[in-house]
C-alpha cells in the first residue's frame, strides 16, 4: 500500500459513509440486550425487500448505555433508543419513508430529540478517543480509512522519530491508564534505550469494576489503536507489538483479530509499511482476568508466560521490559488519541483541557445516576457537569452524596467538591485519582464504610500475593471493615485502619497495594463520622448495613391494620388487628424492608 492507494480508498469509502445507513450499536452492552438479533433482523428485511440504497451496519458504542440498544440512522444522525429486535420492520419502513419513528426517539423535557448530538447527554461531551465509535463499522478497515484512518501513520513516517515524539510531547498527552505519566516522555525514554529488539505493548487489561472505555474503543474503533501502535513502534524503534487484552472481552478480541488481519492484508502492518522502511508485526495476548495484570510489569510477566505478578522497578520497562528488552507500554485510550494528535498537531490537542491535563478523558458513569454510560469530556469539566448535565442527575430525587473515581485505587469525592474541575492534579489533591476513568455516583442511601469494604473486598481478591503488606495487610483491613459494618467494631479500629493504610501504601511492591487503602483513607477523611457512628453507636447512618439497622413501627402512626405482619417473610411482626400498635421482634427481623413499602400509613421506617 502506498499513499496514493490509501487516498483512493479514502475517497471511495467516504462516499459510502454518506449513504443512508442504519447503524446498530454492537458493543457488549447493546449486544447483551439483543442488538445482534436486531441487526440480523434489519439485514434480513433489507435483503428480502431488495432495498438497495439502505445499508445496515454494526458500529461501536454510542456511550448512552442506559438507553441501549441504540440505533442511529445516518447521515441524518437520527437517534433511536431502547430498540427491540421486533422494531426492525418499522425502522426500515421509516428510513424508506424518510419519516422518523417517533416512538423510538429520545425525549427530553417533553420534546422529541432527533439527532444524537443534540441530546443533553452529548452536549458537553467532546469525542476524540471515541470519535469513530458509532460512526463506522469497526470490522471494515475501508471505513476507518474513509475517516482519515492510517493517514497519521503515513504522516508520522514522513517525520523524523524525534519529531513524532516531540508532537506527542507538545500535545501534553498523559497516560490514560491511571497514573498519568507524560506519554511523550515515555516514548523518548524507550527510544533512547539502545537494544537489538524493542517492543510496543498495548495495555487492554481493563480491570476497574465498572470501567469499560477501553473495551468500547477496541470494539468500536480497533484500527485507531493499531495505527497508534505502529506510529509508536516507528518512534521508539520497535518491530514487534503485543496487545494484552482480557479474554473476558470476546467481542473486542474478535474485532482486533479482524482488524489486524485486514491491516496486514493492506500492508499497513508487516514489512516496509508505506515503503518507508518500518517493519511492524502485531499480536494479541489474552489475559485471564487478573486485575494486577493491568500493572505494567505484571502484564509483561503474563505475556512472557510467567505468573502474573509485578516485578520491582527499576529497571523500568523503557530500559528492560518485555523479554528483558526496552518496551513501550500505553493503554488503549492513550493510543486512541495518538492518530488524532499526529494529524491535527500537538498544539490542537494542547488547546483542550487544563493547565497540566490536556485533551479529553473518557469516564464510565455508573451507580446512582440516570444516564449510565460512557462519556468523553474535556479535562477540567466539573463533576457537577458530568453528574447533572450529562448524567441527568441522581434518580428518585435523592441527594448526591459522593462519587468514586479511580475505582479500587481511587477515592471518593464528597458533595462539597462537586464543582471541582476534574483533572489529574485536582483529583489527587482531594484524595482521589483519575484512574482509568470509572466514575461511580452514590446517593444518600449509600454507606461509606460499606463502600470502602466493597473496594477492599475487590483488592483482597485481586492481590497477587507477592508482597506481605498487600497480601496480608489488605485482608486485615477488610476484616476490620467487616466487623465495623457488622456492628462489632471496637474502639481503636479506626486508628488501626489508618496505620495499616499508611504502611500498606508505603510498603507495597506495586500500584495495586500502594493504592488499595485509598478508598478507606478518603472515606475516613470525609465521612469519619459514619465510621464512628458504626463503632460507637452501632448505627449505620445511611441505613445500608443490615446488621446495624433496626426497623421500627411508630406506635402513633400505626393504625393496627396488620398488613405489615401479613407481608413479613419471617414472621417478625407481632400484634393483633385493632388491639394496639404492632411491634417488630428485632431478633427475627432480617431488615428486608418489605413492611416499610407495604404500610399504607408510612408508620414504619429504618
Amino acid at each position: 500500500m502506498d499513499i496514493k492507494e490509501l487516498n483512493k480508498l479514502k475517497e471511495k469509502n467516504s462516499a459510502v459513509l454518506k449513504k443512508k445507513r442504519i447503524m446498530v450499536c454492537s458493543g457488549t452492552g447493546c449486544t447483551s440486550s439483543k442488538s445482534d438479533v436486531l441487526l440480523s433482523n434489519l439485514k434480513k428485511i433489507v435483503k428480502d425487500k431488495n432495498i438497495k440504497d439502505i445499508l445496515v451496519e454494526k458500529t461501536g458504542c454510542f456511550g448512552f448505555c442506559a438507553k441501549g440498544p441504540i440505533v442511529v440512522i445516518d447521515p441524518d444522525e437520527i437517534f433511536y433508543e431502547m430498540v427491540k429486535p421486533e422494531d426492525a420492520e418499522d425502522i426500515v419502513a421509516s428510513v424508506v419513508d424518510k419519516k422518523p419513528l417517533e416512538r423510538l426517539l429520545a425525549k427530553e423535557e417533553d420534546k422529541y430529540v432527533k439527532k444524537w448530538h443534540e441530546l443533553n447527554f452529548y452536549n458537553k461531551q467532546k469525542r476524540i478517543a471515541l470519535k469513530n465509535c458509532g460512526t463506522i463499522n469497526p470490522e471494515k478497515i475501508e471505513e476507518y480509512i474513509a475517516v482519515d484512518g492510517y493517514q497519521a501513520l503515513y504522516k508520522a513516517l514522513n517525520m523524523t522519530r524525534d519529531e513524532v515524539i516531540e508532537e506527542i510531547n507538545i500535545s501534553g498527552l498523559r497516560g490514560r491508564g491511571g497514573a498519568g505519566f507524560p506519554t511523550g516522555k515515555k516514548w523518548l525514554f524507550t527510544k533512547n534505550s539502545e537494544a537489538d529488539q524493542k517492543y510496543v505493548c498495548c495495555n487492554a487489561d481493563e480491570g476497574d469494576p465498572g470501567a469499560f472505555m477501553d473495551r468500547s474503543i477496541l470494539e468500536g474503533d480497533p484500527h485507531s489503536v493499531i495505527e497508534a501502535m505502529a506510529i509508536a513502534a516507528y518512534a521508539v524503534g520497535a518491530t514487534q507489538g503485543y496487545i494484552y487484552v482480557r479474554a473476558e472481552y470476546p467481542i473486542a478480541v474478535e474485532r482486533l483479530n479482524i482488524a489486524i488481519k485486514q491491516a496486514k492484508e493492506k500492508g499497513l502492518l508487516g514489512k516496509n509499511i508505506f515503503g518507508k522502511g518500518l517493519d511492524f508485526e502485531l499480536e494479541l495476548r489474552l489475559g485471564a482476568g487478573a486485575f494486577v495484570c493491568g500493572e505494567e510489569t505484571a502484564l509483561m510477566n503474563s505475556i512472557e508466560g510467567k505468573r502474573g505478578e509485578p516485578r520491582p522497578r527499576p529497571p523500568f520497562p523503557a530500559v528492560k521490559g518485555l523479554f528483558e528488552k526496552p518496551t513501550l507500554l500505553n493503554n488503549v485510550e492513550t493510543y486512541a488519541n495518538v492518530p488524532k494528535i499526529i494529524l491535527n498537531g500537538g498544539k490542537w490537542y494542547k488547546s483542550i483541557g487544563t493547565e497540566n491535563s490536556k485533551g479529553t478523558k473518557v469516564f464510565a458513569l455508573g451507580g446512582n445516576i440516570n444516564n449510565v454510560g460512557l462519556v468523553e469530556v474535556p479535562m477540567g469539566t466539573t463533576l457537577r457537569e458530568i453528574v447533572y448535565d450529562i448524567g441527568g442527575g441522581v434518580p428518585g430525587g435523592k441527594r448526591f452524596k459522593a462519587a468514586q473515581t479511580g475505582g479500587p485505587s481511587g477515592g471518593c469525592i464528597p458533595a462539597k467538591y462537586i464543582d471541582t474541575p476534574i483533572d489529574y492534579e485536582s483529583l489527587s489533591s482531594i484524595g482521589s485519582m483519575m484512574g482509568s476513568g470509572g466514575l461511580i455516583v452514590m446517593d444518600e442511601s449509600k454507606c461509606m464504610v460499606n463502600l470502602a469494604k466493597f473496594f477492599l473486598e475487590f483488592t483482597v481478591d485481586e492481590s497477587c500475593g507477592k508482597c506481605p503488606p498487600c497480601r496480608i495487610g489488605t485482608k486485615r483491613m477488610l476484616e476490620i471493615l467487616t466487623r465495623i459494618t457488622e456492628g462489632k467494631g471496637k474502639e481503636g479500629d479506626i486508628e488501626k485502619l489508618e496505620r495499616l493504610a499508611k504502611n500498606i501504601k508505603s510498603a507495597s511492591l506495586c500500584g495495586l497495594g500502594q493504592t488499595a487503602p485509598n478508598p478507606v483513607l478518603s472515606t475516613l477523611k470525609y465521612f469519619r463520622d459514619e465510621y464512628e457512628a458504626h463503632i460507637k453507636e452501632k448505627r449505620c447512618p445511611a441505613g445500608e448495613c443490615k446488621a446495624l439497622t433496626q426497623v421500627h413501627i411508630d406506635p402513633e402512626k400505626c393504625k393496627q391494620c396488620g398488613i405489615c405482619a401479613k407481608n413479613c417473610p419471617v414472621g417478625a411482626i407481632e400484634g393483633e388487628v385493632r388491639k394496639g400498635p404492632f411491634k417488630i421482634n428485632q431478633d427475627k427481623c432480617i431488615k428486608c424492608g418489605v413492611c416499610i413499602t407495604k404500610c399504607p400509613f408510612k408508620a414504619i421506617s429504618k
Binding site: P312, C464, C467, R471, I472, S506
Partner: protein, 586 residues
C-alpha cells in the same frame, strides 16, 4: 577493565562501591544490617518481603534496597521513624498469618522471622485474623513442607529453579491464599523433587524441614537386642562442630566419633572408607570404559540427588552413570556382609545408621535397586548433621568438649582421598590419584589437583592417561549439571569423565547441614572454610590415595577379590531406572 566506582551516603556514612552494586550490599559493606527476609544474593533478588525498604532522597516512596541500584551521590536513610513503623507493621502482618508455634519449632533460635521480631521488639500482635489455608506435606522421604509457617519469600522456589533446575515447587493460588506448592496441589513425592534439601537450608523459617528419623533411631538405640552401628559421611566432620558453637571450618572428626559412642552406638565406622572403595570400583570402571570406548563420558554416581535428577530429567543419559554404588551404600553393604561375617553377627540383627550431610540419602536407602539378599536394606536409617546435633544435645553430649577418639576397625581407616569426597571436585581428584596406579601401577607424585577445586559452577581440566589427553568436567548445582547433560544428549560432549554433585559446593553444603542464615553467610565464606577443613584433613592424612588404604587392600584380598570382579560387582554396583514425572518445559 577497571570498574567504575561510585560513592553514596547511607545513614550519614559514606561508602564507595562498584557501579551496579545494590543499596543493600553497599549498606552491608559499612556494617549497616538492613533487615531482610527474602534476599538471597543472585538467587532470590526479588524485592518481595519489603523488609529492606529504604528512603532515598529525591526518590518517591520507599524502595527495596535489595534490588535498587546504588548511584553516585545518592543519600539513603535506613532507619527513619516512618521506615521502622512500616517494617514493624510488615512483621506484625507476617506474624498474624504465621503459625507461631515457636517453642516446638525445629528452627527456633535459628529463624530469621523470630530474629527480626526480637530485633523490632514486637510484643503484641494487633492484627490477628483469619489464617491462610495451609498444607502439611510429608509425602516425600526427604523433606517436609508446612506452609502454615511459610512467609512466601520464595527462596525455596528460586533455589530449586535457578540453582538446581528442578522447579519442583512454585507459587500457587493468589492473594491471601497464595502458597508454595507443587503444581496441581500434588504432594512433593509426585513432583520433580530430587530431595536435595537446598530449599530446606535456604528457608528462613521452619516451613521446610528434613523428614526426621530421630524417633526411629532413639527406639533402636534403646533396644539392647540390636547391634546398632553408624557410619559418618566425609562432609559431616567438617560441619557438625558448628552446631556446638565451634567456628565454621573446624574439623571435629575425633570429637564426633567420641560423641556417637557416648550416644550408644556399638560401632562407629567411616564412610570415607566406603569412598576409598568407591574409587577402586569407579576408577576401574572408568578404565574399562575408556579401553572399550563405551558409555563415555562416565559420570560419578555418589550424589543421590543427582541420581534422582538423572532418572527424572535425563533418562536417556543413565548409561553414562557409573554403576558403582555411593560410598554410604558401599559401606552399608560391607557392614552387613563383610563385617557381619567377620564378627559373626546375623546381618538381620544389625541396625545400620548413616550420619549424612544430606536429605536425599533418606530416599536412597530404600531404593529397590540397592536391596541386599533377603530384601535387606544396606542402610536402615539416615540421620542428618542437624538431626544428630539435636539428638546429642538432648542426651547432654556437648560434642565440643569431648576428647578425640578413633573410628572402629575394620571399616574405620580412610585416606585423604576419601575425606575430600565431601567437597566439589573431590571425587574426581580422588579418582585421578588412583587411575594411573590401577591402570599400570604408576604412583603419581603430585596428589593435589588444585584446578579441580573451587567455586566455579563448571570446572574443566585435562588429564593425561597413558599418553592420551582426556577432558574432564566437574559441576556443582544441578542447573550446571544440566548444561553438561544437554551436551551429552546432543552428542557434543567433549569429556571423558564428569563429576556431578547435586549441591553447590558439594556435600559440605548438603541439605542436611547446619543452617547458616543468609546475613551471617554473607559475611564469611562458609563453603570455603568447610572445604578447607576437608583439604586440611587430606593434607594431614597418613594415606592420601584410596588404593593405599591398608584396610581396603585387606578387604579386597580377604573378601572382595578384584575391583569390578564378580563379587565386588554383585555387592558394590547398581543400576538406574527412568522415573516418570511431569517435567515443566524449561
Amino acid at each position: 577493565m577497571k570498574k567504575e566506582m561510585i560513592t553514596l551516603t547511607i545513614d550519614g556514612k559514606e561508602v564507595t562501591v562498584e557501579k551496579g552494586t545494590t543499596v543493600l550490599e553497599a549498606a552491608r559493606k559499612i556494617n549497616i544490617d538492613i533487615p531482610t527476609l527474602c534476599y538471597l544474593k543472585e538467587i532470590n533478588e526479588v524485592g518481595n518481603c519489603r523488609m529492606c525498604l529504604v528512603e532515598i532522597e529525591g526518590v518517591k516512596g520507599f524502595k527495596a534496597s535489595c534490588v535498587y541500584p546504588a548511584e553516585d551521590g545518592m543519600v539513603v536513610r535506613t532507619n527513619t521513624k516512618e521506615l521502622l513503623d512500616t517494617k514493624r507493621t510488615i512483621l506484625e502482618l507476617l506474624l498474624s498469618s504465621h503459625e507461631k508455634k515457636c517453642l516446638t519449632c525445629v528452627r527456633s533460635t535459628n529463624c530469621r522471622l523470630q530474629d527480626l521480631s526480637r530485633r523490632f521488639g514486637i510484643e503484641d500482635l494487633p492484627y490477628e485474623g483469619e489464617m491462610p489455608k495451609s498444607d502439611f506435606d510429608d509425602s516425600s522421604d526427604c523433606i517436609v513442607r508446612n506452609t502454615a509457617k511459610c512467609i512466601l519469600c520464595r527462596r525455596c522456589v528460586n533455589v530449586c529453579k535457578k540453582v538446581q533446575g528442578v522447579s519442583a515447587i512454585n507459587t500457587l493460588n493468589r492473594g491471601f491464599n497464595s502458597k508454595i506448592g507443587v503444581a496441581l496441589n500434588m504432594g512433593i513425592r509426585q513432583s520433580t523433587c530430587v530431595g536435595c534439601g537446598q530449599c530446606v537450608i535456604h528457608c528462613p523459617v521452619g516451613a521446610l524441614t528434613e523428614k526426621s528419623n530421630i524417633k526411629d533411631l532413639k527406639k533402636v538405640l534403646a533396644d539392647p537386642t540390636k547391634h546398632v552401628v553408624i557410619q559418618t559421611a566425609p562432609a559431616v566432620r567438617a560441619t557438625i562442630g558448628e552446631e556446638f558453637g565451634m567456628e565454621i571450618g573446624t574439623l571435629a572428626q575425633g570429637k564426633m566419633v567420641a560423641a556417637l559412642r557416648r550416644l550408644g552406638f556399638d560401632k562407629v565406622f567411616d564412610t570415607d572408607l566406603g569412598a576409598d572403595v568407591t574409587i577402586m570400583e569407579e576408577a576401574t570402571e572408568f578404565i574399562s570404559r575408556l579401553k572399550e570406548n563405551r558409555n563415555l563420558p562416565m559420570i560419578t554416581s555418589c550424589s543421590s540427588g543427582w541420581i534422582t535428577f538423572a532418572e527424572k530429567f535425563y533418562p536417556e543419559c543413565l548409561e553414562h552413570l557409573s554403576t558403582t554404588k555411593s560410598p554410604m551404600e558401599i559401606l552399608g553393604t560391607l557392614i552387613k556382609t563383610y563385617y557381619a561375617k567377620k564378627e559373626k553377627i546375623n546381618p538381620k540383627d544389625i541396625y545400620s545408621v548413616a550420619l549424612m550431610p544430606c536429605s536425599a540419602k533418606k530416599a536412597e536407602i530404600i531404593r529397590d535397586e540397592l536391596k541386599l539378599e533377603d530384601e535387606l536394606q544396606a542402610v536402615d536409617c539416615v540421620i542428618t548433621t542437624r538431626e544428630m546435633a539435636r539428638l546429642l544435645r538432648e542426651s547432654n553430649i556437648n560434642l565440643a568438649t569431648l576428647d578425640d577418639e578413633e573410628y572402629d576397625v575394620p571399616l574405620g581407616i580412610a585416606t585423604g582421598a576419601g575425606h575430600i569426597f565431601g567437597t566439589t571436585g573431590g571425587v574426581m581428584e580422588a579418582a585421578l590419584r588412583s587411575v594411573s596406579y590401577l591402570l599400570d601401577g604408576t604412583e603419581l607424585k603430585e596428589v593435589e589437583f588444585k584446578n579441580l577445586r573451587g567455586k566455579k559452577g563448571i570446572k574443566e581440566a585435562e588429564i593425561n592417561i597413558q599418553g592420551k589427553t582426556h577432558k574432564i568436567a566437574i559441576s556443582q548445582g544441578l542447573a550446571n549439571a544440566s548444561k553438561l547433560l544437554d551436551e551429552i544428549k546432543d552428542g557434543t560432549s567433549k569429556y571423558s569423565f564428569i563429576e556431578i554433585m547435586t549441591c553447590p559446593g558439594g556435600c559440605i553444603n548438603g541439605g542436611g547441614q547446619p543452617i547458616v542464615e543468609e546475613f551471617k553467610a554473607s559475611k564469611i565464606d562458609v563453603l570455603g572454610l568447610r572445604a578447607k577443613a576437608l583439604y586440611n584433613a587430606d593434607k594431614k592424612a597418613k594415606y592420601r590415595k584410596s588404593h593405599q588404604n591398608p584396610e581396603v587392600k585387606e578387604l579386597y584380598k580377604d573378601f572382595l577379590g578384584e575391583p569390578n570382579g564378580k563379587k565386588s560387582h554383585k555387592l558394590l554396583h547398581t543400576h538406574y531406572n527412568k522415573q516418570e514425572v511431569y517435567v515443566e518445559s524449561k
